[in-house]
């Protein structure tokens, strides 16, 4: 009997807006994160991930208001990521209503933060985000600051280290695939899932339900996805408004040219597909 796979919408947030880029770059405004979150909750999301995508650059996480609002009306686990550097930073987003945090840059710069944070808040509260880029020799290196900064840290070694330091799970993003819709990096997913015994959330590249199934077959315990669900939401809400007119809003104004190769789906569609392929998940 295997474990139920979690299907997790990932919301990249910049200021007051939900955004989406490719390889974590070229961010386009898609709408208000609260609207998307509510819709995903109603549609059967197993958890939500909020990422302050510019936080690391400015050294602060500014999602508190959105997190606080979400926590009052959405009763599934919420993970918050982006720019969290200290025990106090973590405490403050947990107080705002997050259930878990995900840390990348600060963990690589200061691995002892993982041990301390998991001791203070419990391992299951601390997710370590690993952003990987495949190298020409076939190895994977971890990057920080949304794939901008090279760290020289080898992904498999790092994954094992974060487990030993007490991380509760690993959110594994392929920067190469992120936003492309070309599918998860299955080789990466498989290698990390086999290396560690904590849960692995595969992230980056989902373009259709079959990609999600492939990530599960490669060993992922949870699957995070953004564009396919966001497009599904936008498609159903033609008269989207209320987003803040800052940032790149061309996508919303210009009749919404979707990226080719990315399906527009609902969480229910993904789960139905998994269910039909005998993957256990919360589906009824």
């Amino acid at each position: 009997m295997s474990q139920n796979i979690r299907v997790i919408p990932k919301l990249d947030i910049k200021g007051p807006n939900l955004v989406k880029g490719i390889h974590l770059e070229g961010l386009r405004v898609l709408g208000k994160p609260e609207d998307f979150a509510k819709y995903y909750y109603e549609a059967g999301a197993d958890e939500l991930i909020y990422i302050d995508v510019v936080a690391s650059l400015y050294g602060r996480n500014s999602l508190h208001d959105i997190v606080a609002k979400t926590a009052k009306e959405i009763f599934i686990p919420l993970t918050v990521a982006g720019g969290l550097r200290t025990i106090e930073d973590i405490r403050s987003v947990l107080r705002a209503g997050a259930d878990k945090v995900s840390i990348n840059t600060a963990a690589i710069n200061n691995p002892s933060l993982i041990r301390e944070a998991s001791r203070v808040f419990g391992s299951s509260t601390i997710t370590i985000s690993i952003e990987a880029i495949k190298q020409s020799d076939g190895s994977y290196l971890a990057y920080t600051d949304n794939g901008r900064e090279h760290t020289g840290v080898e992904v498999l070694t790092w994954a094992k280290t974060v487990e030993e330091l007490g991380a509760g799970e690993i959110m594994l993003t392929s920067i190469d695939r992120e936003g492309t819709g070309r599918g998860y990096d299955l080789e990466l997913t498989k290698a990390v899932s086999e290396k560690v015994s904590i849960p692995v959330i595969a992230c980056g590249g989902a373009g259709n339900s079959q990609h999600v199934l492939e990530a599960v077959e490669a060993g992922a315990n949870a699957v995070a996805m953004a564009s396919i669900l966001h497009y599904g939401f936008i498609e159903k809400h033609k008269n989207l408004s209320g987003y803040h007119e800052e940032g790149n809003i061309e996508f919303l104004k210009s009749g919404r040219e979707y990226l080719p190769g990315i399906d527009k789906v609902d969480i229910g569609d993904v789960k139905k597909y998994l269910h039909q392929h005998n993957v256990p998940c919360r589906y009824s």
Partner: protein
């Protein structure tokens, strides 16, 4: 008014948010007098068993919690808050619990009977089911479908000495364990109803409706 017991360890806000959303009047407090005066109490919990007991002792809450439970008023434990009700836990050495429910708390085995690796902690949704037919009738789980999904986050599970206190069972990688208990006025869940979407919220409203008067 019910008291959400604050023992400086866990994320209490989600429990408070759930109560607020459902219109259940609740206050977060670590004051024993406030606790003893309230109509009902919730012991939430995320974190380590030993630290939790240490904090309850430090805050002088062990006696008041026992007194509260002995008074017969409704008491609800969640996750670590359920485990603390047991006699002892093997988490980081043997630790004594509140000893309300005879039994102990044990770690999930690293491998199951088929030799497969068991990912610990269990993080995610799993099903709860009745140990015997109609067990949930007139309990806080009465509006819940058998085999409904709930959200779990834990590395340890509780094993009551007496099967009668087991309200629901759950199977994780082949290991069947107790996922909620009902023992007189004490109701407790290993899963997080406040993170289990609408079905979980039904458990709070049911608990409040059937026990708080």
């Amino acid at each position: 008014m019910i008291t959400i017991i604050d023992y400086q360890i866990s994320n209490l806000f989600s429990v408070k948010h759930a109560c607020d959303f459902l219109g259940i009047e609740a206050e977060i407090s670590s004051d024993k007098n406030a606790l003893l005066k309230s109509q009902g109490a919730i012991l939430p919990g995320v974190g380590a068993f030993g630290d939790a007991m240490h904090n309850l002792e430090k805050l002088d809450l062990v006696g008041p919690i026992k007194e509260f439970i002995a008074s017969g008023k409704p008491f609800m434990g969640i996750c670590l808050g359920m485990q603390l009700l047991f006699s002892e836990s093997e988490e980081f050495g043997i630790n004594q619990g509140l000893n309300i429910i005879p039994g102990k708390v044990m770690k999930f085995p690293a491998k199951n009977q088929e030799g497969e690796i068991v990912k610990i902690p269990q993080i995610g949704w799993n099903q709860i089911y009745e140990p015997s037919a109609e067990k949930w009738k007139n309990t806080p789980l009465q509006a819940i479908k058998n085999n409904e999904f709930m959200y779990f986050v834990h590395s340890y599970y509780a094993k009551p000495d007496r099967d009668e206190s087991i309200l629901s069972l759950t199977n994780y990688k082949g290991l069947e364990y107790c996922s909620s208990i009902l023992h007189e006025n004490v109701f407790a869940t290993q899963f997080h109803p406040e993170k289990s979407a609408k079905e979980g919220m039904k458990i709070y409203s049911n608990w409040a409706a059937t026990t708080l008067k």
